[in-house]
């Protein structure tokens, strides 16, 4: 079963993607900040991560920076979730090997699920 981790502090968005990806037969785990996200990813070893940027405790870009330094996290596929405009994305994010940056307000869960499938090569 394909595994996806959703790291997002907005519980409504997190729940929405959980329902969507569980309906598509993914194994889904969630965490609500980057600190918990790092612990989750290390143990869960997802195939792909949906990662919010603005979160308490540890932001998504900080989590990504830390994760890329590890042996277990350096190659995991990451899709960034954000409500910021492209120009407001921290520059570091673009240099850390992300698959895509998604403006949350502009994509339906189905579109996000299709994008994830494409990035995983399972379309």
């Amino acid at each position: 079963m394909t595994k996806i981790a959703i790291i997002e502090d907005d519980q409504a968005i997190s729940q929405m993607y959980r329902f969507k990806f569980e309906a598509e037969n993914y194994q889904v785990e969630t965490a609500e900040n980057g600190k918990l996200g790092l612990q989750l990813v290390e143990s869960f070893k997802p195939d792909i991560i949906l990662l919010d940027l603005m979160m308490p405790e540890m932001s998504g870009d900080q989590m990504l920076t830390e994760m890329r330094k590890t042996s277990w996290g350096k190659n995991i596929k990451v899709v960034i979730l954000t409500n910021r405009g492209e120009q407001e994305i921290p520059p570091a994010v673009k240099t850390l090997g992300v698959e895509a940056v998604i403006l949350k307000a502009d994509m339906t869960p189905r579109q996000v699920a299709e994008l994830v499938k494409t990035k995983l090569g399972i379309n």
């Binding site: 519980q11 409504a12 997190s14 729940q15 929405m16 993607y17 959980r18 329902f19 969507k20 309906a23 409500n83 405009g85 403006l103 949350k104 307000a105 502009d106 339906t108 869960p109 189905r110």
Partner: protein, 174 residues
């Protein structure tokens, strides 16, 4: 379930009202169903930690300013399950701006609709509504324009609306 009749007027903003950034505000995330409807009437909304399902219909077929709203509160789980379905979404920040004894709801749209600001007033009676004079920070009364309804705007971009907005000489506001 609660049901209310709203008497409202909607305007395109002429400018960002002075002092808006200091006003109480909330982020509203809406998903409209079905995605295939040109003007969807069924909506789920996240407002902070609260979630609701709303069916909005025109109370007076000749006046889009009289809307009937039927609301049901949802749990986070219920909201998440519905939001995962096939809807069209929009996100906006709603500012509550005091104006001459009323409250202007100033909706600043985000994402693909960034640049669009719509200002709504709700009234207790038709008399108060009929006597209302458009404030200076408003550009045009669009109450009867279908294109500004949430169920039409959801899933669209500012560029999609540009032809209609230009008819009112509206320019994007940020």
């Amino acid at each position: 379930m609660s049901e209310i009749i709203e008497l409202e007027l909607s305007y395109l903003a002429a400018a960002i009202p002075e002092g808006l950034e200091k006003c109480e505000h909330k982020t509203l995330s809406d998903v409209y169903f079905p995605a295939s409807a040109a003007h969807a009437k069924l909506r789920i909304r996240q407002k902070g930690d609260t979630f609701e399902l709303t069916k909005k219909t025109q109370a007076d077929p000749n006046n889009a300013g009289n809307q009937r709203e039927e609301n049901i509160q949802l749990t986070l789980e219920e909201y998440g399950a519905l939001a995962a379905g096939e809807g069209r979404s929009l996100t906006k920040t709603r500012y509550y701006l005091p104006y001459r004894g009323l409250t202007a709801e100033v909706d600043v749209f985000e994402g693909a609709l960034a640049g669009l600001i719509i200002i709504e007033f709700e009234f207790d009676s038709p008399e108060v509504k009929n006597a209302f004079v458009m404030p200076d920070f408003c550009l045009a009364d669009v109450t009867q324009e279908e294109f500004i309804a949430g169920g039409v705007l959801a899933g669209k971009s500012y560029a999609d609306l540009q032809p209609q907005l230009e008819q009112f000489r509206y320019r994007p506001l940020t």
